[in-house]
């Protein structure tokens, strides 16, 4: 809905023109200025018609900004896909631009990779002896300026960090979307950027799970059998060494952001299988900060109480190792939080819908929406455990937050256009 304010200006006698608004993509809102000359039809009283300037800003709403801290690459992660899917539409790289762009754009959302704000490219970091995790390799001033600009409805030319070449490529234009997601290693590192975020999430993967996932990522079936041949590329040792070498910087610069997050998704090895080291069955904890504006934490049965719940029993049969839930209040780095925890995995559709029907405050628009979203992306990693479940739920909470923010803005008085 456009809000237009009309002003009259005593300006120079210039020919007023009507500028046709630039064709805007659905979901983008831009300031449009229309110069309009009001012809005075009243008699020759001598008063010259003063040119009117009508300024319209579509929606008059600021972009909602979400921060996601994750060590798993940029803008292409499963979480991002689930999130954009909740809003509808698939997220794609900007059409016709740099093919190595990290940006993803869908109807409602634009996902920016914070690696684009590297101040040092790969060679530069090597020379200075800093990893990408180090704040010295990132330009927080530029990050702040550009996120602030986008938030207030101004398009920016954002640099591109090319992960294939390791160089900084020429910038790409980012137009303000309805929802901007900034994903990367440092969304909550800089205080000014933190203050721009309407909601923030931290994806906290434990070391054991990280190790197991990276093995699956980097070691193909082929390599695990290559015992007799010379080791080329990754091995168990190299993966372990890589995690260990990055750990000091990770602990110093990335991990401390946890305490600022409104929601933390913590991924741990399961407690249901003793000595499990495969990292296939997972224990996932959704840690939700209390008192966050427009965000009401998900709960089980009775808000604020402590619940232990095993859904498998008479009404629902599950296969080994089953499913176990826990919910309760807690403190996390000095903040009041509520924690919802799931250990185990879903085997069948009816387990998922059964669990969904017992959760409250999940911000669904219809019964079974969580299940539907999970099924829609059944091929995504984590679709049968807490990672997929909680990522989907956080996506719905973000949608809810977005709708609350935008409806509270349109509730502001509207001035009718009196042109």
């Amino acid at each position: 809905m456009a809000v237009c304010s009309a002003y009259t200006t005593q300006s120079l006698n210039s020919t007023c023109s009507i500028s046709t608004p630039a064709k805007t993509h659905l979901g983008f809102h831009q300031k449009q200025v229309v110069f309009y000359r009001r012809s005075s039809k009243r008699g020759g009283s001598g008063s010259s018609s003063s040119p009117c300037v009508i300024t319209c800003s579509a929606g008059d709403s600021q972009t909602v900004v979400i921060g996601l801290a994750a060590d798993s690459g940029c803008g292409k992660s499963t979480f991002m896909r689930r999130l954009t899917s909740v809003f509808g539409g698939a997220a794609e790289p900007p059409k016709g631009g740099n093919p190595d762009s990290n940006t993803l754009i869908s109807d409602m959302t634009t996902v920016i990779c914070l690696d684009d704000y590297h101040s040092l490219d790969r060679t530069g970091r090597k020379e200075k002896g800093v990893t990408a995790l180090d704040p010295r390799a990132n330009d927080f001033d530029l990050m702040y300026e550009q996120v602030k600009a986008i938030k207030s409805g101004v398009a920016v030319d954002k640099p591109i960090y090319n992960h294939v070449t390791g160089l900084l490529d020429p910038p790409e234009l980012i137009k303000p979307p309805k929802i901007l997601v900034i994903e990367g290693l440092h969304p909550m590192f800089d205080e000014r950027v933190r203050d721009l975020l309407d909601f923030s999430i931290y994806l906290d993967i434990s070391n054991e799970v990280k190790f197991a996932w990276k093995i699956q990522r980097d070691l193909t079936l082929l390599k695990t059998l290559q015992r007799d041949m010379a080791e080329r590329g990754h091995s168990l040792e190299s993966i372990k060494a890589s995690i260990e070498a990055r750990k000091p910087d990770f602990d110093a610069y990335i991990d401390p952001q946890k305490k600022y997050a409104d929601a933390v998704i913590e991924v741990l090895p399961t407690q249901l299988i003793p000595d499990d080291n495969e990292g296939k069955v997972l224990r996932v904890r959704l840690i939700m900060k209390e008192g966050v504006k427009h965000f009401s934490p998900v709960y089980l049965f009775d808000e604020g109480s402590t619940i232990s719940w095993i859904p498998c029993g008479r009404k629902l049969t599950c296969s080994y190792p089953g499913i176990k839930f826990h919910y309760g209040p807690d403190t996390y780095f000095g903040n009041e939080v509520s924690i919802l925890e799931m250990d185990g995995q879903f085997d069948r559709l009816d387990e998922l819908i059964y669990v969904e029907s017992h959760l409250s405050n999940i911000s669904t628009k219809f019964y079974g929406e969580v299940t539907q979203q999970m099924l829609k992306h059944a091929d995504f990693p984590g679709s049968n455990n807490g990672t997929g479940l909680f990522q989907t739920i956080v996506g719905l909470k973000i949608r809810d937050l977005y709708e609350q923010i935008t409806s509270s803005k349109t509730a502001a008085p509207l001035e009718a256009t009196k042109a």
């Binding site: 992960h163 197991a212 990522r217 193909t220 990055r246 990693p381």
Partner: protein, 136 residues
């Protein structure tokens, strides 16, 4: 007399993979073992169907990333031999992580989106080298 044993195994598709990188359902391999005068030599034939890589540019990127991973892993091992806690060592492994993730992202896009990342670029620029159709 050499005996040839042949096992074939087709990769199994996990119904709902939990890892951050799903197993490739189209990976199949055959393992040969030749016993010849007590001498054992294992050789391997692999047939790996790529995701939907359509353009030469994507195939080139994937190849480049694979080569970079190998190169950077051996570099990192060398650099870290002296001092594991040195800055050079940290940076070397960080580079390995960066390119490993870049390769995984590319694979993930091909497999999950089933679309070549160069698709929209190549529609606008079909005559470039990168946009030649990749033929297996």
């Amino acid at each position: 007399m050499a005996t040839l044993r042949f096992n074939s195994l087709t990769g199994t598709v996990e119904k709902n993979p939990t890892s951050s990188f799903s197993s490739n359902p189209r990976l199949s391999w055959a393992y040969f073992q030749c016993n010849n005068k007590g001498e054992r030599r294992a050789s391997r034939m692999t047939v790996k169907a790529m995701g939907a890589a359509k353009y030469k540019g994507t195939q080139m990127r994937e190849k480049k990333l694979t080569e970079m991973i190998e190169k950077k892993v051996s570099e990192a091992k060398q650099v870290c031999e002296g001092d594991e806690t040195s800055d050079e060592c940290k940076v070397a492994w960080d580079e390995v992580e960066e390119v490993s993730q870049a390769k995984a992202d590319l694979r993930l896009r091909l497999e999950i989106e089933k679309k070549d990342p160069l698709e929209s670029f190549c529609q606008e620029n079909p005559e470039t080298e990168e946009c030649k159709i990749y033929e297996d």
